[in-house]
């Protein structure tokens, strides 16, 4: 873990433990990449690591993914290293279940790439935790 953090820092990918309300309260390491802000604003309100509203255990998207994969994959997208940009783009543009589609006017293909880079870097930062 320490080695990974060091490698990422050396390559210019700084990590931090700071969290915003939109990101959630679970303290995970987060890669300081451009995709972090995009994820925090566009995805974290449903897929973040914090609790849901009014006593709900998890945010709705995180809870839904945990149920969908029955624990075989993390419900938190920031702990997933299997979401490259083409896969993300498919879910973003086509929707999935109760998650509606997102239009390029609100989330561009470039921003989806940034999110994918951020998720991969963040998942690797937290491997083994």
């Amino acid at each position: 873990m320490r080695k990974l953090c060091s490698l990422l820092s050396l390559s210019g990918v700084l990590a931090s433990l700071s969290v915003s309300a939109q990101e959630g309260r679970l303290d995970i390491l987060r890669a300081d990449l451009p995709g972090r802000t995009v994820f925090a604003q566009q995805c974290a309100p449903c897929h973040g690591t914090g609790p849901g509203d009014d006593g709900a255990r998890l945010l709705p998207g995180t809870e839904a993914l945990l149920e969908k994969y029955e624990g075989e994959r993390a419900g938190e997208l920031e702990l997933r290293d299997d979401l490259p940009a083409p896969v993300l783009r498919l879910f973003v543009r086509r929707g999935s279940g109760s998650m509606p589609m997102f239009r390029p006017s609100e989330l561009s293909d470039d921003e989806i790439e940034q999110i994918a880079d951020y998720l991969l870097a963040t998942a690797r930062l937290n491997e083994g935790t």
């Binding site: 543009r93 109760s98 239009r103 006017s105």
Partner: protein, 536 residues
């Protein structure tokens, strides 16, 4: 499913797209099946059927001048535009249009918060600004104002208010259209108009006095199709100093009549924020015998319901009260509410709830310390946008029917009976039963909710839901309970129920539409208003 605009061939469509590219840039035009997929209504009960509405293209301008240019181009080509703000109107059509082949006028790129004035308590925003964006703007600057947000918070103040959406704070802020003040509109011919004081050059009161001089056409742009709103002002609540909650319960079913009258007094006097009525008996709806009683045809008697409540040891009704203001004032208001209600309704009881200084901490927003079961969503109650409400979305989404019902206990009982009987033929959860509580969202009226889910891979289920929606709209209207908002696929049904004097309201709207937009450039069919071109 690629579609073309009405009365247009492929060559004409290509020429249209070329002109639009010239107006907004090639990166901001989309067409074809793949690119247009996100412009479908993912909550549609007519998904993949012939009734689903498809847009032909989408165009995303970045400023009002480009909106004007797009409208002028659409006029030249006689192509209907369907304006959307953030496109999150789920349950009411999402980003999909009334007319097949319309070009979606996607205003998401117009996302500037132009002003938040904490001394005069208003804001001015563009259509692409979401509640999340506006909240972030306020928080980053430490401004002492409270937003009134719908749930979920990814919608836009402009889009939500133009749909007459609601929030959850003080009465006069919850009606989002009612809380607007001043708008800028691109008219169907491309001209840019400002309402109220915005029409007076040099005025600094556009967001303070909505009327200006003469008739105020602002209402035409809500659930209408008379222009494209490109700026809009809203009144904001000064950040209250304190938040206080309390619960009042009443024992008997018929106590609801008095309870509602008291709550009306408290709300109309400006003493309470949003209130939540509920029946504690709802916790027993999993019991087959009680379920059968609560959903009995014609409704159970008061005696039967009171006996059930006594058996379970539960009160018949409860109301969550919330107070915003100075600490001493919230305490005095809560004490007054308790005294007023408990001294009038035998057996009524009160429980003190959470109370704290504002702004709330993250822990207080999580709402885990309330000493009683509560239906209040804490973030929404304090104007904090969230997507937490998405936890209630089942399957692939839902449709929504929210009839407007008098703020009267007897009317609530009648709605429970009539709408409960009407939905019995459909295999759906009991949206209406003897324990259904009214929603007090709009400032001065009640609503109830009917929101069955849809399933993309189950056309039979969706067809049943579609039939149920149409039936509920019709049955409710027979009793004078009209829907307040509808998806494009239901707008004609709902519009038809507002039929006083041979539909004169609709005919008047059509006369106006014919005068300003006979070719139907702006959202023909929206609000049930069709221009001459499409009527024929």
């Amino acid at each position: 499913m690629s579609v073309l605009p009405p009365d247009m061939d492929a060559a004409g469509f290509a020429a249209l797209l070329d002109e639009l590219r010239g107006a907004v840039g090639a990166d901001w035009i989309w067409s074809g099946d793949t690119d247009m997929f996100p412009y479908r209504d993912s909550f549609s009960p007519v998904w993949n059927t012939g009734e689903e509405r498809h847009a032909s293209a989408a165009v995303a301008p970045e400023n009002v001048e480009q909106v004007s240019a797009v409208v002028r181009i659409a006029n030249r080509h006689r192509v209907p535009l369907f304006p959307i703000s953030t496109g999150k109107n789920f349950g009411y059509g999402g980003p999909s249009p009334n007319v097949n082949g319309s070009v979606v006028l996607d205003l998401k790129r117009m996302n500037r918060v132009l002003e938040v004035n904490e001394a005069r308590n208003f804001c001015l925003v563009e259509p692409g600004v979401s509640y999340f964006d506006l909240y972030r703007h306020v928080e980053e600057r430490g401004l002492k104002v409270m937003l009134d947000v719908p749930d979920p918070g990814w919608g836009s103040p402009i889009g939500n208010s133009l749909e007459r959406g609601v929030g959850y704070t003080m009465p006069h802020f919850r009606d989002h259209f009612g809380a607007h003040c001043g708008m800028e509109v691109v008219l169907p011919d491309g001209e840019i108009m400002r309402t109220g004081m915005g029409a007076l050059p040099g005025s600094d009161t556009w967001q303070e006095y909505p009327y200006g001089f003469g008739p105020d056409p602002a209402g035409l742009f809500a659930q209408g199709n008379f222009g494209v709103v490109t700026k809009m002002g809203f009144r904001l609540l000064p950040l209250p100093e304190y938040y206080r909650t309390g619960l009042i319960t009443v024992r008997k079913r018929r106590d609801l009549v008095k309870l509602i009258a008291h709550v009306n007094y408290l709300s109309d006097s400006g003493m309470v924020s949003e209130v939540r009525f509920a029946s504690p008996l709802s916790t027993w709806m999993g019991d087959p015998d009680f379920l059968a009683l609560a959903t009995k045809a014609g409704g159970p008697s008061d005696t039967e319901m009171d006996a059930a409540a006594e058996t379970f040891g539960l009160p018949a009704w409860a109301v969550d009260l919330q107070f915003l203001g100075p600490q001493a004032a919230t305490l005095a208001q809560w004490e007054y509410a308790k005294d007023r209600i408990l001294s009038d309704i035998v057996g009524a009881e009160a429980i003190d709830g959470d109370h704290f200084k504002l702004p709330a901490s993250e822990e207080q927003l999580e709402n885990t310390t309330q000493p009683y079961a509560s239906g209040v969503r804490r973030r929404a109650a304090l104007g904090v946008p969230s997507l937490g409400i998405w936890e209630i979305v089942r399957d692939d989404g839902h449709v929504g029917f929210f009839p407007v019902i008098p703020r009267d206990g007897e009317a609530v009982f009648e709605a429970q009976r009539v709408l409960g009987d009407a939905q019995r033929e459909f295999p759906l959860p009991p949206y209406f039963s003897a324990i259904t509580a009214p929603l007090f969202w709009h400032t001065h009226t009640f609503q109830m909710v009917f929101a069955p889910s849809v399933k993309h891979d189950d056309p039979e289920h969706n067809a049943m839901v579609h039939r149920a929606m149409k039936k509920m709209v019709a049955v409710a209207a027979e009793l004078g309970w009209g829907d307040y908002r509808a998806s494009p696929i239901y707008q004609d049904d709902v519009s038809a129920t507002y039929s006083f004097n041979n539909h004169v309201l609709r005919r008047f709207h059509e006369q106006l539409k014919d005068a300003v937009d006979p070719d139907g450039i702006i959202a023909p069919g929206r609000g049930g208003i069709w221009p001459r071109r499409f009527r024929s």
